[in-house]
């Protein structure tokens, strides 16, 4: 099992912090400290457009394509505490002119660290060093964004947010060493409830990713400064009966709106230093990257046991790697060398 | 005359201008009028009701009076009464005082009148009601009276005068008045009887202490607070009578937190210590001691290892501390012998307890006592007698204790007292220090350093045997620490030897030198440890600070060199290090050189070199040019320092040996080698060149120089004559030397013409001749001869002749390149060894550069490269920036081409000029920023050319700090930062540091 380099996207003149792959179209977006977002066509590998025109005064830290809408659009989070929304109404991908800045969203007090769209494109979540997570409701043509809820649960800088691919469940990772999960309140649509706290990491949690299996939330992976990746399993959600292995004695009175999670396992430890990004692929594999410049892919043997099937050091030379995303059986990594690399999993 | 007088009076009374006192005074002196007439003429004005008129009238009288030296007694008396009367009139007070002052300073003024003057001033003059300027006149009056009539005052008016002074000076605020008030107070207190006024006089001054005065911005007179402080201080020191009031009051001010106030207090005390008599001091010394001892005991003495370190202290708090130390040094000077014993007993009563090594006030107490001990011998002996026994019985348990004990002992080692009680404790001190020196724990470097310094300080009372053992210990220490040059103990020991080898060279000669030289591997050593050789020789070079040592070291190094040669040792660097050490010794201590070096060392090196370089084939240095060259450098250095009268002999010997192949003190032909450079060309020419270039040009050659030159030219024209390039260069150098020193321009012209006519430029063997012509022309360029221009032109024209075009840049480079044998002897201005005009370089470039630029522009593409090569070659030899500054603008286009070249050597000379251009006139490169920066960044990545990388980084740095506007540099900022990341991991530390500095400049570009 090894990785082969398919293509290297160049052009950024500073660290590349994050990437995003459009769920339907062959579009790749990358954001960097050089304050630009570069959009590529994943098939032709050619640069489509550089979203720049000084819309942001500081580093672009996060990006994510909106999963829905007739035309492709994306959200960019920046250290200048604002979010910019870009779209291409003509849907003519190659032509770079018609990518337009559709909205600038202000609200956070300082650096934004993460942005993520809900599976149905209705909600956009953003997190920042100001310890808050804002949940915005977007109209279809991305003109107005209305903040429906501000989550103030974390006690420190929130590093990353991501939605479940089917349920409206949001996972947030933070400098306070915890992962928190949030759900829409059944009765009040605009109220988001902290349904679970996953504690155990002994350092900043840099990112998390849901298992891509089934309709309902099943498991979540989280990577941390403490050099470990933890797999969390949901026992039963607050609003339905306990899930199959209800060994729990009924006497334990469960708080009505709390989901029950437990630490399932810790992936085999191989990274040295902080692990900045973890991705759970549809193929069931988990991939991680970090300060040690190593790409690691884990395969599940049984529910408690994972095996490292790939461990490739110096994937971006001596540079740290900030982000990894699955794209089918392919991986996309972004590093401090400003490069974005597309890898093929050679089984 | 009256008419004239009244005219004057009416004139100045009506107008604003000053009265013509000059003319009036002249008239009075010439007796044309009398002062009384003046008073009469002023008449009514003197009593006019308007104050201004009265004041001007009195002013006229006073100022006139001031210009007169003598008056008859009667007039004086009348005028005195007049002025005394006027004292009632406040409006004219100022001029009245001026008048009284003028009156009292008259030669025949009758002092008897003083009493009435003084009493009326006391009664009628009320200072508070007058401005500062008027009050100033009152002080001037008293000062004049004091200066003119001191004896009379002492005899008759002592008390009155003091009272008047106190009257006029109380509550004075004006700085100028205070200055004169302080000086009067000082004079009065130190000369008059002030017993019953002591307290008043003291309070009169002490109310101003401590002075905190900031001169107002537009103050008319430049009085600084320092002047007031010193003036006031002198009042307190004027008489011991002030002691009883001064000490308690001033010591109380010591508690102030401001260092400036404390400093003022201490400086005042120190001044009083000098002037007060012994009894007063004896009465107050204890109060002083108790008030100040904590200034020392509570000080952590952070940076003080020796008493000498106190002088180096500089912060504001340190100045206070230094003043306290000065006080403790001066105080005991005032003690009589029995007072010393009594007072020290009292002090030691308390301090004894602190004298234990581990006590937290140990160092402070020892410092305090040792400072007092420096006051005078009797105090020193008593303290040493009391303190040392206590110190020496206290057994140090830890390394820190040992260090503290050694420091304490060192405080008491005082070379100012050759014979003192210290010698009684010499042996014990020696034991403690030697133990510390040899202590195994290398960790405690400060202990060893202190012991080293103390032992050196102690040497003045050690006998020869003891000194020898100290020096041998230090020598051992040198050997054990020399491998790490940064080791503080090594540096401390080496430092100690600079003192020892100057004062006790013979001991160093007998103990240290043999020990060091024994470490040098000899001919029988299996393999040579070059690092050891380098360390030993480095020490040897650094400890020879006396003639005796220098002479014997050079002799011994030469003998080591000779033994190695005979022993067939093959490590070339070893020979080179030995010769280089000899060279360094001779160049570091030129003043110690003497004639016997010429008589002894030169012949020894010459014959040694000839035998081993040329004669004995199995010698390790046979045909080794680097060794030959280094030996030559030593010879040249010696000759350059030789007096003029010996030069002729040395030259003749060299000519005998090298040209005539005959015997000379330098080399005896009996050894089987007859050298004749002119016929059989051995490679020893470079040795002969060292002789010829060093001697004065006024010494004629024994043989006809033109003959020698012609034969040398014939030999050198044909390059096949030579076994090596080095040999050929030696002959070319010799040709240039001869031409410059001994041949006339016309003879040289003949030779050059003859050569240029017979030369066939198309054939390749013309190269040899061209090169000979170039070196002859070089001698002309050096002496700035008009002929040089002609042949410079000739070589320049060769650029256009294809067969020799590629060679002519080299030939032109020869004309200007610096060669060490052709340099002026800078060691001794009186001896002129070569005809070298100062501005020859400037002239060469001023002619050559425009021609190159013009030639480059007009030549076709093919030969552009040749012009660029020529420019880069000659630019290598600029060395003084002034020469090139004016040309920078014109040669820039060519420079931009040169830095594109792949030939590292020419590229680097281009980069150096580019750097100079950016630094001196950065606007020139503004239009080319893009191409320059990208080329520089490319060169920083070429790891095969270390100098290129450094030069490129230096240029980038120069651009970053230049005055090129930020807007122009901004676009390049990120590219430069990103592209210099690679050079951060360069294998050489200095390149990495340079890269870091460059990047820091560009990171900060945004901020500036």
């Amino acid at each position: 099992m090894s990785l082969s380099l398919v293509h290297t996207f160049t052009g950024h003149t500073d660290k590349c912090w994050a990437t995003s792959i459009h769920s339907k179209l062959p579009l790749l977006a990358t954001v960097s400290g050089d304050r630009t977002c570069r959009v590529y066509n994943l098939e032709t590998k050619r640069l489509i457009v550089v979203l720049d025109d000084d819309s942001h005064s500081k580093t672009l830290s996060s990006v994510e394509w909106k999963p829905t809408g007739e035309f492709p659009s994306l959200a960019i989070g920046s250290f200048d505490s604002t979010i910019s929304i870009w779209g291409n109404e003509e849907a003519v991908l190659e032509d770079e002119d018609n990518w337009t800045l559709m909205a600038i969203i202000e609200g956070h007090e300082n650096e934004i660290k993460g942005v993520s769209w809900s599976h149905d494109g209705v909600y956009l979540a953003s997190c920042s060093r100001d310890k808050s997570i804002w949940i915005w409701e977007a109209d279809d043509n991305n003109e107005e964004f209305e903040c429906v809820f501000v989550v103030q649960e974390h006690s420190q800088d929130v590093k990353h947010v991501t939605w479940h691919q089917h349920e409206n469940v949001l996972a947030s990772s933070s400098y306070d060493d915890t992962v928190k999960l949030f759900k829409q309140d059944d009765y009040d649509e605009d109220d988001w409830v902290n349904v679970a706290d996953l504690t155990g990491h002994e350092g900043t949690v840099w990112s998390s990713d849901f298992e891509k299996k089934g309709e309902r939330v099943t498991r979540l992976s989280s990577s941390s400064d403490d050099g470990t990746i933890r797999i969390w399993k949901i026992l039963h959600a607050a609003d339905d009966q306990p899930s199959i292995d209800s060994k729990l004695p009924s006497t334990i009175k469960t708080d009505t709106n709390q989901d029950m999670w437990e630490l399932e396992t810790i992936l085999p430890i191989i990274h040295h230093g902080p692990i900045y990004s973890v991705a759970w692929g549809e193929n069931g594999y988990i991939a991680s990257v970090g300060s040690d410049g190593r790409i690691v892919v884990y395969k599940e043997l049984n529910s408690k046991e994972w095996q490292i099937i790939i461990s490739q050091p110096h994937s971006h030379g001596v540079y740290e790697i900030n982000n990894i995303k699955w794209h089918g059986d392919r991986l996309i990594t972004a590093g401090d060398d400003g490069l974005v690399k597309l890898w093929e999993l050679a089984l | 005359m009256d008419l004239q007088l009244s005219q004057w009076v009416s004139q100045f009374m009506a107008s604003e201008n000053d009265p013509p006192c000059e003319e009036i005074a002249k008239a009075v002196i010439e007796k044309r009028i009398s002062l009384l007439q003046l008073i009469k003429t002023l008449g009514s004005h003197l009593t006019d009701e308007t104050p201004h008129i009265r004041s001007t009238a009195v002013g006229c009288l006073s100022n006139t009076l001031a210009k007169i030296e003598r008056l008859n007694r009667a007039d004086i008396e009348v005028i005195a009464k007049f002025y005394i009367g006027k004292l009632d009139d406040n409006d004219v007070m100022s001029n009245t005082l001026v008048g009284l002052r003028a009156l009292t300073s008259l030669k025949n003024f009758n002092p008897a009148l003083l009493e009435s003057v003084l009493t009326s001033v006391q009664e009628k003059y009320e200072p508070a009601s007058f401005l500062a300027a008027t009050r100033y006149q009152s002080f001037l009056l008293l000062e004049t009276i004091y200066q003119k009539h001191l004896d009379f005052i002492l005899a008759n008016l002592n008390d009155l005068f003091v009272k008047v002074f106190i009257h006029i000076s109380t509550n004075e605020k004006d700085p100028r008045n205070l200055l004169i008030s302080f000086s009067l107070n000082k004079q009065i207190s130190s000369t008059l009887q002030v017993e019953n006024f002591a307290e008043d006089l003291f309070d009169n001054a002490f109310c101003y202490f401590p002075v905190s005065f900031k001169p107002p911005p537009n103050s008319p007179y430049s009085i600084a607070s320092h002047d007031l402080k010193t003036g006031l201080r002198q009042v307190f020191a004027a008489t011991p009578l002030f002691a009883k009031d001064l000490f308690p009051n001033i010591l109380e001010k010591l508690t102030s937190t401001s260092p400036a106030v404390k400093l003022d207090v201490l400086q005042t005390l120190n001044l009083c210590l000098d002037t007060y008599d012994n009894d007063t001091i004896q009465e107050y010394w204890l109060t002083l001691y108790n008030a100040l001892k904590f200034e020392v005991l509570y000080n952590d003495l952070a940076n003080i290892v020796e008493l000498a370190d106190i002088e180096k202290l500089s912060t504001e708090d340190d100045l206070v501390f230094k003043e306290v130390i000065a006080l403790f040094k001066n105080l005991p000077k005032k003690f009589t012998d029995e007072q010393i014993i009594k007072n020290l007993q009292i002090m030691l009563e308390e301090l004894k307890e602190y004298l234990h090594i581990s006590h937290k006030y140990f160092k402070q107490t020892v410092l305090l006592l040792s400072v007092m001990a420096t006051s005078k011998l009797s105090v020193y002996n008593h303290i040493v007698g009391e303190v040392l026994p206590v110190l020496l019985t206290d057994e140090p348990s830890t390394v820190v204790d040992e260090k503290n004990l050694a420091t304490a002992l060192n405080f008491f080692i005082n070379p100012d007292y050759p014979e003192s009680k210290l010698s009684q404790y010499k042996d014990d001190i020696l034991v403690v220090l030697s133990k510390g020196l040899m202590s195994s724990s290398n960790v405690e470097t400060t202990l060893k350093c202190i012991c080293i310094r103390s032992l050196v300080n102690l040497s003045f009372i050690l006998d020869t045997q003891e000194v020898a053992s100290v020096i041998s210990n230090l020598s051992e220490l040198l050997l054990s620490t020399m491998k790490n040059e940064k080791d503080p103990i090594f540096q401390e020991t080496l430092n100690a030897f600079t003192n020892i080898s100057a004062t006790m060279p013979n001991v160093v000669l007998e103990t240290t030198l043999p020990l060091l030289l024994s470490k040098l591997p000899n001919e029988s050593s299996s393999e040579i440890d070059l690092e050891l050789v380098r360390n030993v020789l480095n020490v040897v070079v650094n400890i020879s600070h006396s003639k005796l040592l220098l002479d014997s070291i050079i002799v011994r190094l030469l003998s080591v060199y000779e033994r190695l040669l005979n022993g067939r040792v093959v490590t070339m660097d070893y020979y080179y290090f030995l010769l280089n050490s000899i060279y360094l010794l001779l160049s570091n201590y030129p003043e110690l050189l003497s004639k016997d070096y010429a008589d002894r060392v030169i012949p020894q090196i010459t014959s040694l070199t000839i035998v081993n370089y040329r004669l004995s084939k199995e010698s390790p240095v046979y045909l080794n040019e680097r060794i030959l060259d280094q030996c030559g450098k030593i010879i040249r250095l010696i000759i350059c320092k030789l007096e003029l009268i010996h030069h002729q002999k040395i030259l003749d010997d060299a000519v005998d040996t090298f040209l005539l192949g005959s015997d000379s003190p330098l080399f005896s032909t009996s050894l089987g080698l007859e050298i004749s450079l002119v016929s059989k060309p051995p490679t020893l020419v470079s040795l002969f060149n060292k002789f010829l270039s060093a001697v004065s040009k006024d010494c004629p050659l024994k043989i006809e120089p033109l003959d020698v030159l012609s034969s040398l030219v014939e030999i050198t024209r044909d390059s096949k004559h030579f076994e090596s390039l080095f040999e050929r260069m030696g002959f070319l150098e010799l040709i240039c030397l001869l031409a410059n020193k001994y041949i006339s321009d016309s003879d040289l012209e003949k030779i050059l013409n003859e050569l240029s006519e017979t030369i066939d430029l198309q054939s390749s063997d013309s190269l040899g001749t061209l090169e000979v012509m170039a070196w002859i022309t070089k001698s002309l360029v050096l002496s700035n001869s008009p002929l040089a221009m002609k042949y410079q032109e000739y070589f320049f024209s060769l650029l256009e002749i294809p067969s020799v075009a590629s060679v002519s840049p080299k030939l032109l480079e020869v004309l200007i390149a610096e060669v060490s044998e052709l340099e002026v002897n800078k060691r001794d201005k009186k001896i002129i060894n070569l005809n070298v005009r100062l501005l020859y370089k400037q002239k060469f470039y001023n002619i050559m550069l425009p021609k190159i630029i013009e030639g480059y522009r007009n030549c076709e593409q093919a030969s552009k490269e040749t012009y660029l090569l020529l420019l880069s070659l000659i630019l290598n030899h600029v060395h003084q920036r002034e020469i090139i500054l004016s040309h920078l603008e014109n040669i820039l286009p060519l420079i931009l081409q040169i830095i594109q070249s792949d030939n590292a050597k020419s590229r680097n000379s281009g980069l150096e000029i580019l750097n100079l251009t950016i630094e001196s006139n950065c606007m020139l490169i503004k239009p080319h920023l893009h191409s320059i920066i990208s080329r520089l960044l490319a060169i920083t990545k070429d790891n095969s050319d270390l100098n290129g990388q450094i030069n490129a980084l230096l240029c980038l740095k120069e651009i970053g700090i230049s005055k090129i506007p930020l807007s122009q540099l901004q676009p390049f900022r990120t590219t430069i930062i990103n592209q210099t990341v690679a050079v951060l991991s360069h294998k050489k530390r200095k390149v990495r540091k340079l890269a870091a500095d460059v990047r820091q400049i560009y990171y900060e570009l945004e901020q500036s």
């Binding site: 660290k15 580093t59 250290f79 300082n110 650096e111 660290k113 060093r129 800088d157 590093k159 400098y175 900043t204 400064d225 902080p274 300060s291 040690d292 110096h314 030379g317 001596v318 540079y319 740290e320 | 952070a302 040059e485 940064k486 020789l537 480095n538 070339m572 080179y576 280089n580 045909l623 040019e625 680097r626 060259d629 280094q630 390059s719 096949k720 076994e723 090596s724 390039l725 080095f726 050929r728 260069m729 070319l732 190269l767 060679v807 080299k810 030939l811 020869v814 390149a817 060490s820 990341v981 951060l984 991991s985 294998k987 530390r989 990495r992 870091a996 990047r999 820091q1000 900060e1004 901020q1007």
Partner: protein
Amino acid sequence: MTDLINAAPKVLNVDQLPTREGKEDRIEQSGYLPGLLSLSVFNVPFTEKSSPGSTPALSDSSLQSDDEEFESVDALEIYDLISSISDPEHPLTLGQLAVVNLEDIQLDDSGNPNEIAEVIIKITPTITHCSLATLIGLGIRVRLERCLPPRYRIIIKVKEKTHQSENQVNKQLNDKERVSAACENDQLLKVISQMLSSCK
């Protein structure tokens, strides 16, 4: 900074601090000979024709030896880079204030330019509750990130038991993202460039 947080820090004077600045070899190699020979028209590198026998003795290796030798990065080099940073509060350097000391710098570096290396620096704040520790740490990190190649992972910690909130400070100092955010904050950048202005 009206009231100095630490009014009387203990000061080492500059020449007591270890440094490699300005130390050159002692007995230098002779550079003279190659210079003269290069002037010759017959010098081999210049003309294609072989010169009449270039002397072997000249090419002995000791002349260029020190150009090839690889000088690896050591703790002293790191110390030289950061000891001249000035304290944000006193007109003194971190070296003089013994905030950074040679023995508190640990280097884990194979020397291979393609491998990741680690620099661990322990700082000793002048007083235990010094709020400037994070600022000093940031200054050191920015200086090293600018001066060392990217393969060096820089870890800055407060020396054990020398600071009340030791862990929080360590965490903040080594959060890569917050550090790069700080480098885009204007006030902080001004302070940092002030601290680095004294670097020589």
